[in-house]
């Protein structure tokens, strides 16, 4: 694969590279090895290090910021090169591993996953041709449908609600209040006693401080963990509905 339009001067070696198209140092290295039909298990390390450094040099010329991982790889290549120059240690037992072996392994593994990513991209493109019905359930049942939501969704929803409430906050709390987790759990349990299902957002709005809201959220997680309550949410941007866990203890 020779690249590419837009490259001005070629680095030594006549290799043209389109700057910025690589996913990282391994991607660049893999490109160098593959594009020149080098043996990945017998990498000409001097040559590859030269080309790699020429590429970095070129990035510098173009005033591109070079991520530290590229520099780390340059150092690794230099290290391998120096080890190749040393005579094998006569004291060492058995056969010393080729200093390039680890790099070969890394490149092969990376190449495998790169191919896997291409497979996924192909599957994704195939999905563009297929439509499902992105419709919500009939309105009269809208509140009854359980949506799968994991911890990430709950935390994100909470972050959102906090941000919204903080935007509204106008009063300044001067005194420090002691907010305890058991109290908040009790507050949630009391609410559950009164109503089979309630809006978590409403409860958050009753809270006066950020601390109270955080502890309230922790209390909710605690009740869920203990199998007392269940939280549901139609979408991560929306309110969290809390209800008693019917299967478990009440």
């Amino acid at each position: 694969m020779s690249q590419a339009a837009g490259s001005a001067a070629s680095p030594p070696g006549g290799l043209e590279i389109h700057v910025g198209r690589f996913q990282g140092p391994l991607d660049l290295l893999l490109h160098l090895v593959r594009s020149q039909d080098m043996d990945i298990l017998d990498i000409p390390i001097v040559e590859i290090a030269r080309q790699y450094n020429a590429y970095l040099e070129r990035m510098r010329e173009l005033d591109l910021e070079i991520a530290s991982e590229y520099l780390l790889m340059a150092a690794t290549l230099a290290h391998i090169k120096s080890r190749m120059l040393l005579p094998p240690d006569p004291e060492a037992e058995g056969v010393e591993e080729d200093p390039r072996a680890e790099l070969s392994r890394q490149l092969l593994a990376y190449e495998a996953f790169k191919k896997a990513a291409e497979e996924l991209a192909a599957l994704e493109s195939a999905r563009d041709l297929v439509f499902t019905r992105p419709v919500p359930p009939p309105r009269e049942f809208a509140g009854e449908v359980t949506v799968r939501a994991g911890l990430t969704d709950l935390v994100r929803a909470f972050e959102r609600i906090l941000a919204r409430l903080e935007a509204q906050e106008s009063t300044v709390v001067v005194h420090r209040e002691d907010v305890r987790l058991p109290d908040m759990m009790q507050r949630l349990l009391d609410r559950l006693e009164q109503r089979r299902r309630f809006s978590f957002r409403e409860m958050l709005e009753e809270c006066r401080t950020r601390l109270e809201r955080i502890v309230l959220f922790l209390a909710l997680l605690e009740l869920i963990r203990n199998g007392v309550a269940r939280a549901r949410q139609a979408h991560w941007r929306e309110d969290i509905l809390v209800e008693a866990e019917t299967g478990g203890t009440t």
């Binding site: 996913q23 990282g24 140092p25 391994l26 991607d27 991520a67 991982e69 790889m73 392994r105 890394q106 092969l108 593994a109 990376y110 190449e111 495998a112 996953f113 790169k114 191919k115 896997a116 990513a117 497979e119 996924l120 991209a121 599957l123 994704e124 195939a126 999905r127 563009d128 041709l129 297929v130 439509f131 499902t132 019905r133 992105p134 419709v135 919500p136 359930p137 009939p138 049942f141 009854e144 449908v145 359980t146 949506v147 799968r148 939501a149 994991g150 911890l151 990430t152 969704d153 994100r156 209800e243 019917t246 299967g247």
Partner: protein, 227 residues
């Protein structure tokens, strides 16, 4: 609208038709085998499986614009790819967000080598995956499945049901095999790096929350069996 008395349930329902109705009502959420069974308590599993296959055949035979898809361990109706071009005009503002190459690479590593930590992903790709992981978490394609019992207890990532649906896979076993080291890397082959595969234990977190609704809706979702 006239209110009609629903017809009594026939002793022998037209299984493919019933299943088709269930898949239609369930919108884009795949219907699980257990859910179909819950709606057809009088039928054996093999009968239902046969009914599903018959529905597949009927859809093909009658030249339906829909086909039955097996995805994420469930079933749903989707449009046939050949109609895609014409359908797009209905969805002018639809914008399916493609994943970036970087996100796809990280996702591929998580999918094929799960459960896996961020440092292990970094070792494979040579770059920090933090941003890609955040994007993938937000898009619900991956999730936290536990922590590795090593120093720092790094978070372990795995793929989600959403991941299977996004790529149209029935299960992880349907991931395409990939050639590496001249041998095939199968999804089940968890580690390419025995060195980094510290066989340290993993702390699991609960599986994805199951879709257990409080009330059976028209989606064909079954209520949990009474304990």
């Amino acid at each position: 609208m006239t209110s009609t008395v629903p017809p009594p349930m026939r002793p022998e329902p037209d299984l493919p038709a019933v299943i088709e109705a269930m898949l239609f009502a369930s919108a884009s959420e795949p219907v699980l085998m257990e859910e179909i069974r819950a709606g057809l308590p009088e039928c054996e599993a093999e009968q239902i499986e046969a009914g599903i296959e018959e529905l597949e055949r009927r859809l093909d035979r009658r030249g339906s614009g829909l086909r039955l898809e097996r995805v994420a361990g469930g079933f749903r109706l989707v449009t046939r790819p050949e109609h895609a071009e014409r359908l797009r005009s209905l969805f002018r503002f639809r914008n399916r967000k493609r994943l970036t190459p970087a996100a796809l690479e990280v996702l591929a590593i998580v999918a094929y080598a799960q459960p896996i930590t961020a440092p292990e992903i970094q070792e494979i790709r040579g770059t920090d995956p933090a941003y890609a992981l955040r994007v993938l978490l937000d898009r619900r394609l991956i999730r936290i499945v536990g922590r590795r019992r090593v120093v720092g207890r790094p978070i372990l990532y795995g793929t989600t049901r959403e991941f299977l649906m996004h790529f149209g896979l029935d299960s992880l076993a349907d991931l395409p095999p990939v050639e590496a080291f001249g041998t095939k890397v199968m999804p089940s082959q968890r580690r390419l790096f025995p060195a980094s595969a510290s066989d340290a234990g993993e702390e699991a977190v609960p599986a994805e929350p199951p879709a257990v609704p409080a009330t059976p809706g028209p989606t064909g979702r079954a209520a949990p069996p009474p304990a």
